[in-house]
Assembly symmetry: C2
Homo-oligomer: 450 residues x 2
Amino acid sequence: MPLHQFHFNASISSSSSPFLAPPSAFNSFSSRHQNFSLPPRDLGICRCVATPQEAKTPTAYKTNVSRNANMGKLQAGYLFPEVARRRNAHKEKYPDAQVISLGIGDTTEPIPDVITSSMSKKCQALSTLEGYSGYGAEQGEKSLRAAIRSTFYADLGIDDDDIFVSDGAKCDISRLQAYVDSSVIMGQTGQFQTDVEKYANIEYMNCTPENGFFPDLSKSPRTDIIFFCSPNNPTGAAATREQLTRLVQFAKDNGSIIVYDSAYALYMSDDNPRSIFEIPGAREVAIETSSFSKYAGFTGVRLGWTVVPKELLFSDGFPVARDFNRVVCTCFNGASTVAQAGGLACLSPEGLKAMHEVIGFYKGNTEIIMDTFNSLGFKVYGGRNAPYVWVHFPGRSSWDVFAEILEKTHVVTTPGSGFGPGGEGFVRVSAFGHRGNVLEACKRFRQLYK
Amino acid sequence: MPLHQFHFNASISSSSSPFLAPPSAFNSFSSRHQNFSLPPRDLGICRCVATPQEAKTPTAYKTNVSRNANMGKLQAGYLFPEVARRRNAHKEKYPDAQVISLGIGDTTEPIPDVITSSMSKKCQALSTLEGYSGYGAEQGEKSLRAAIRSTFYADLGIDDDDIFVSDGAKCDISRLQAYVDSSVIMGQTGQFQTDVEKYANIEYMNCTPENGFFPDLSKSPRTDIIFFCSPNNPTGAAATREQLTRLVQFAKDNGSIIVYDSAYALYMSDDNPRSIFEIPGAREVAIETSSFSKYAGFTGVRLGWTVVPKELLFSDGFPVARDFNRVVCTCFNGASTVAQAGGLACLSPEGLKAMHEVIGFYKGNTEIIMDTFNSLGFKVYGGRNAPYVWVHFPGRSSWDVFAEILEKTHVVTTPGSGFGPGGEGFVRVSAFGHRGNVLEACKRFRQLYK
């Protein structure tokens, strides 16, 4: 499941990640409560979680190996399994209904031929003596690293070897251990607090229409890691240059590291920064991770990258990139050569043109969805800069609205509260879908809310 | 770089892996010294390690984030960088020499067309509306999991959903955190002890000709994890059914978990178990990891798998597979759909035939190398069950022999002592190479040692 179902933004106190000091190295964790919380991270990720009952097996023998107690802190999947459960129940109730899913954020359109042709050629080459290649560099092929730099980071002071090619942003984030579930697994968070629906030791940054979907940094305590996703999923909000300049300054004042998820950058219509590294000084405080998934439909092909500038240093002056490189070399063996051939094709002039056409198609879907809800008098957010429309139903329960839409229109959306209490009263409508389905869904929305 | 450059066998006391309890949960670690040690794990893995000097940059600003002190325990890469340094120096000295590399264990032969054709078709399908697919299951496609089970684990009591498809055994092992460098990074080992060339809190299991390359379990202390690689790299030794039966019993008596690396199983000539699960009771104490890399030349395509039986339980009765599944779902997004299409083709009747032909070719190389050294009066080990020949030069320094062979024959091998002190007096000759190069190298060996 996609990384950018890492919703809203969060900052993490300390870490026991492969490259950050373990919690034990810290005297104390702040665990102040914010008025807004992240969902248990696995919601969109792990669709097959054990319940204690399931876990029991008839086997008598047990090893003497203790389970990692941190695993027990993980909350069972809820949002997407629950959405799926309700969709299935609905299909049983209305076996003949044409159910349309605008819920989960998975790509639906074919990969442009110019890209798949290159991948296909690479596969064929692997069966020839001249074209065969074995192990590649863990950091990715030089040509691809160079193409990513020149395409996305030209004139931003980023070098080719600052780019680490990965099998997807989610995997890199987990290697970074900035990922909430990973953080829980590594024991850097406290228990999940059901009352506030958040893990202890993680500061949740409130992003709502009231604050323009940008946190009040004056109220944010210092943390080691600040995870920031822009354009954001699910709100679709993109931070402005002025906001990101404040974020970088905040990180610098606190000596924090920003992990910036820019996986939707090419979806931006506004003149917002496409990369955190457009902000002066960001190379000293930020890591950026991105992916080909939503640009070229590579959700299944698996290809992404992470930028770790040489200027980013630990408190002892050791470059973060050196340790990240070591972690990548130790825990990863490079992205598939076929996927990398596809990535290289994505960044060719024809590939870029084709990628932008796919993105343009999804943005077209987004406009149709936004126009529909706007014309019905709803307040909608996002959309302009991300393939998600965040529709406001003031005073109503997200799950009630979700159920109403499903019951009356046979369209599956995602209840905002599933992303956390701050999402209450909102529903996320995904723009990933075939045009016909999106048009049909909007026609039904108009009938329901006319 | 390949997982099975995880040399010899090691057992690890406790763990702070994603699914094992952190060291803090243990009162004490055993750190008894064995007379044999593993190399610093990154040797074959990380070819770009920072030296403190390199690490320094002119940047003034530092974050307040502490570096993970465990990273500092990692030893700089030595063996393969050093082998490469000497090879390059040799090339400068003899610019016209035809240098042959039988050092590093990377595949050299093309991937059979029946396999690449399926991958190519999958790529083309991704550019069609019908053939496009997005996110797949983190655990891998049902059809591939079923094919792996029926091909490698028929009648062994393994279910399809015990199989977790990965982007390579190395990556899965790192997720398992049984991998030595990962273990160090997660803080489960002590400092590297230069005197004995080993990390504290890791028990090194002595595998030499004297004990038939199988450890004396009566001298082995109890550990949580026992990492066992058979057929072994670099010795090429494959454990017998009787030895593995003792290993399983040893694990059962101690309540340990065996992580069994069987990545060379199809190279076996002897009638040894291809899987640890051929041993009764193994499903209650073992995890098995394997890969398509050395079977189908997938070192760059990236595809492997790990088997975690439901019967394997933590001390509290919780199934290890449930937590491993959660880790995979959290830290991984599934292997590339293209690689999985290739894996499925590998396991078709034609694919299996083609894979065995490639393996047969490398086994042919191995025989040529073994015959050469045998006829020259050397004692050679391995070979019969793995693509590595372990040649004994009693009383001589591995590095001296390596240098002699390189100087006199322009052939690059790997000095045994680079894998650890127990390898002193041995040289590893890899069978991964084009036939012409192997024949030429052997011709030169005959001239040198006639």
